[in-house]
Structure formats: structure tokens, C-alpha cells
């Protein structure tokens, strides 16, 4: 079971500069748990203190917004890709 989590450069800085990280897990939430256990600094940047999603950080399972396919409970399969896309405002 291998899930690839893609991080934007703003978050990769908290994962030793790595932008694509292989994890396991049965759901999006548990895949993120595994990511955070390796890179604890990412934890508060992905979910709030209660474990809820932030309104300014979107997460996609393959190309679907996880909010529309079950949120953190959405099941993941081998080879799935999870992409974190926080709001950025530069121009």
C-alpha cells in the first residue's frame, strides 16, 4: 500500500525539502497521520487543533476535492495521490 502525498514548496520546507512523500494508510486522514508522524511540524499546518480542516488549505485525492468525497475519512487505494494546496496570494 503506497500513497504519494504532494506538498507545495511552502510546506515542503517543513518536511526536509521533500515535495513528494510516500506513506501508507487506509484513509486520507490516516495517510496524513503517517506523514505528520514523520514530519511533526506539518501537523498544525494541515489540520486545526481539533483535527478539522482549515478553510484556507484544500486537499485533493487524485483530482477530487476531499471535502466532496468523504473528507479525511475518504478511503485511499494503492497508488493514490494526495495533493495539499494551501491558499497563496502572491502576484
Amino acid at each position: 500500500m503506497s500513497i504519494t502525498i504532494h506538498l507545495p514548496s511552502v510546506l515542503a520546507a517543513h518536511a526536509g525539502g521533500t515535495r513528494a512523500i510516500e506513506t501508507g494508510g487506509a484513509t486520507v486522514g490516516t495517510a496524513l497521520d503517517q506523514l505528520v508522524s514523520r514530519y511533526p511540524q506539518l501537523g498544525p499546518r494541515l489540520r486545526d487543533a481539533h483535527g478539522a480542516p482549515y478553510p484556507f488549505v484544500t486537499i485533493y485525492l487524485n483530482d477530487e476535492d476531499v471535502r466532496l468525497v468523504g473528507g479525511f475519512e475518504a478511503a485511499v487505494r494503492d497508488g493514490d495521490e494526495v495533493t495539499i494546496v494551501p491558499a497563496v496570494a502572491g502576484g
Partner: protein, 393 residues
């Protein structure tokens, strides 16, 4: 999904402006494309596009839209050209430093294509003027550099029914989409609320690869032209993610949120206070942030006062310029470092300009620390008032 540019595409062939002989020659490579042709080029000539910002994204977008023959380009900007803009803002050249970006843009765009009318709007887009301004154009290209103006542009586009060709960048990553069409989502459907002020660094704090706004701004110009011509598959309902380091570009699906206050429930019926919405300059009941000026700090350091000087910038900024004796704790890791700080000493916190350090001061106040000061104006003012050998960046 079809494009929704009623003001332009609804015009019949007779209502569209004719092309002059010069224009027929200039645009010949467009006219040879069946998807554009003479009628498409006349649609481009009839089109009125508003560019919000003549900076990193606005530069390539304006250059290509002008070259493509978009008849009228409105540009909103109130800034002047700074030498730090030049690594990415190709509307402006070295000789333009100090000029207004609008004056520079007008000269450059006239040189690119004298057939294009440039309408300069030297103002800060605000809740007071946005509906009127956006309403004068067929679509908006959002090239702003802050969350307040992005929500303002979005809401003005929803309320006036104008498509918002959105682009945004940070460091090596970009986002592009077309928001606020008849059927598609808006910016608020994707990002309901902005991050707390100071959480996400700006490009002036975090840096940006100079080429990135070129890529993203040209994608925005492409989307604008597709909307005007009514061709192709516009980025409606899709968010295009540009990863310049991975040389990857992909789209994820985004949908209109029926609970979105702007385009879903439509409870948002007028523009709001976007500074307050983004948590900027909001009067609060919190304790005020005490400030110390660079000169006062220099006096205290000269006296060898027992104080703890903290720098909450990023390591790459510290490598460019630093105040001797300051201990680096980037704002992103500040919360984790609070417990280990020596609370018995006076604490002074600085960053580049004073915004991030005010955030850090508030975090310490919330943790019960009272003898904590923000360095007014940050290291930039330190360079101006105390030590001119410190690099400004």
C-alpha cells in the same frame, strides 16, 4: 462547459468593430487559425479586459493580451517600479525604476501594439470603487498580491457577473483558474476564508522564482483569450496547479459550493471590509503591541542592556541581512519555541518590516509575557536609521 462572456460574444458580426488593413496584416497568424479567424479577431478588438495589478502576473498577461489585439486593456495599479520588481515584472525596465507602473506599462504596451487602448486606473481597488470599475469591463485578470484584494476582486466579479481569471503564485508553485462564471465556482468556493494574517508569507518575505509569474500570467492571458473567443475548454471548475520545480502541471476539480455566501446562497449582496475579513488592522480588545524604534534599540544594545533580541524571519532572509546578536526563530516555528524562552529578560522581536514580528509579539502576549516589544519598521528601518551597511531587500 461553454464560456460565458455575454457582453462580447453576444455581439453579432455587424456589431463587432472592423479590422483595419494594418490590423489584418499584424494579426495574420491569428486569422489563419480557423478557431480565431477574422470574426474572432474582431471579438478580441471589441473586448475590454481589466488587469488588476501591473506586477508579476499582470506584466506577462498585459504584454500578451496587447500583442494578441485585445482592444481595450484597463490596468489598476498605484505602485511605483522598484528595482526588486525587475527580476519578474517584464513590463518595466531598469530605466523605469521610480516611475509609476502605469506610466511604464502604457509606454511598453504602446510599443508592443499601438492599436490597443490602455485605460490606466491609478488607484487602490477598494470596496468603494470595485463594482463600478469591474462593471466597465468584460472580464477581470486577477494579478494582485494579497488576500484582501483577491476576495474583493472575487466578490466584485460575482456581483457584476464578470469572469475572474485568477492566478496566484508563491515561491515555485502557481495556481490558475477561471472563477465567477454562470455555472462555475468562485474563489470563496475553494477557499472560504483567508489564512490568519501573517501565517502565509508574502512574495516579498518568502521569495518567488522570477519565471513563475511569467508562466502563470501567460496561462491567465490564454484563459482570457479563450473566454473572449469562446473556444477550447476554459479552466472553469478546474484549478490548474503549476509546479515549476517538478515541471508538472495538472488540474484538480473544483465545484460551486451551494453554501458559498457569494455565488451559492448569495447572502453576500454588497462588498465588505476586506481588511477586517482578512484580519488586518482590525481593532481588537487585545493588548496593544508595544514598539521600540531602531534608534532606541541601538541605544539599549550600546548600553549592553540585558535583552533578548529575536529575529522571526526565514533563514534565507537572515543570510541576506541581520542585526548582530539577534537569535533566529522563523515565525513558522515560533509557537514551538516559546516555552524555552527566558521570560525574565526584556524581549525585542524583529522581522523585515514589522508585520511578522507583531504576530510573534502577540503570541508571546497570549502566553503571558508582558515585557516584549516589536521593532518598528523591522530590519529595513534599522538599515535606514542605524546601520546603512545592512542590505535592504
Amino acid at each position: 462547459m461553454s464560456a460565458t462572456l455575454a457582453p462580447v460574444t453576444a455581439q453579432g458580426g455587424d456589431a463587432l468593430p472592423e479590422l483595419t488593413r494594418d490590423e489584418l496584416v499584424r494579426y495574420s497568424r491569428h486569422l489563419l487559425l480557423p478557431e480565431v479567424g477574422v470574426e474572432g479577431q474582431r471579438k478580441l478588438k471589441a473586448a475590454r479586459v481589466l488587469l488588476v495589478g501591473a506586477g508579476g502576473l499582470g506584466s506577462p498577461a498585459a504584454l500578451y493580451l496587447a500583442a494578441a489585439g485585445v482592444g481595450t486593456l484597463g490596468i489598476v495599479d498605484f505602485d511605483r517600479v522598484d528595482v526588486t520588481n525587475l527580476h519578474r515584472q517584464l513590463l518595466h525596465g531598469t530605466h523605469d525604476v521610480g516611475r509609476t507602473k502605469l506610466a511604464s506599462a502604457i509606454d511598453r504596451l504602446r510599443a508592443v501594439n499601438p492599436h490597443v487602448v490602455v485605460e490606466p486606473h491609478e488607484l487602490r481597488l477598494s470596496a468603494a470603487n470595485a463594482l463600478d470599475l469591474v462593471g466597465q469591463y468584460d472580464l477581470v485578470v486577477d494579478g494582485t498580491d494579497n488576500f484582501q484584494t483577491r476576495y474583493l476582486v472575487n466578490d466584485a466579479c460575482v456581483l457584476t457577473g464578470r469572469p475572474n481569471v485568477y492566478g496566484s503564485i508563491f515561491r515555485f508553485d502557481g495556481q490558475v483558474s477561471v472563477f465567477c462564471t454562470a455555472d462555475g465556482p468562485c474563489y470563496r468556493c475553494v477557499y472560504r476564508e483567508p489564512p490568519p494574517a501573517g501565517l502565509v508569507p508574502t512574495c516579498s518575505e518568502g521569495g518567488v522564482l522570477g519565471i513563475l509569474p511569467g508562466i502563470v500570467g501567460i496561462l491567465q492571458a490564454t484563459e482570457a483569450i479563450k473566454l473572449i473567443l469562446g473556444i477550447g475548454e476554459p479552466l472553469i471548475g478546474r484549478l490548474n496547479l503549476v509546479d515549476s520545480l517538478g515541471a508538472r502541471q495538472r488540474s484538480v476539480k473544483i465545484r460551486r459550493d451551494p453554501t458559498c455566501p457569494a455565488c451559492g446562497t448569495r447572502e453576500l449582496q454588497s462588498l465588505i471590509d476586506y481588511d477586517a475579513f482578512c484580519g488586518i488592522g482590525t481593532p481588537t480588545a487585545e493588548a496593544p503591541v508595544l514598539e521600540i524604534t531602531p534608534r532606541e534599540l541601538a541605544e539599549r544594545l550600546d548600553r549592553r542592556d540585558d535583552l533578548l533580541l529575536l529575529d522571526v524571519r526565514e533563514p534565507h532572509e537572515h543570510a541576506i541581512a541581520r542585526i548582530p546578536g539577534a537569535r533566529l526563530i522563523p515565525l513558522g516555528t515560533f509557537a514551538e519555541a516559546i516555552d524555552a524562552l527566558d521570560r525574565g529578560r526584556d524581549i525585542v522581536i524583529h522581522c523585515r518590516s514589522g508585520v511578522r514580528s507583531a504576530n510573534a509579539v502577540r503570541q508571546l502576549q497570549a502566553a503571558g509575557v508582558t515585557r516584549v516589544w516589536n521593532l518598528a519598521g523591522g530590519i529595513l528601518r534599522w538599515a535606514d536609521d542605524v546601520d546603512p551597511t545592512v542590505a535592504r531587500y
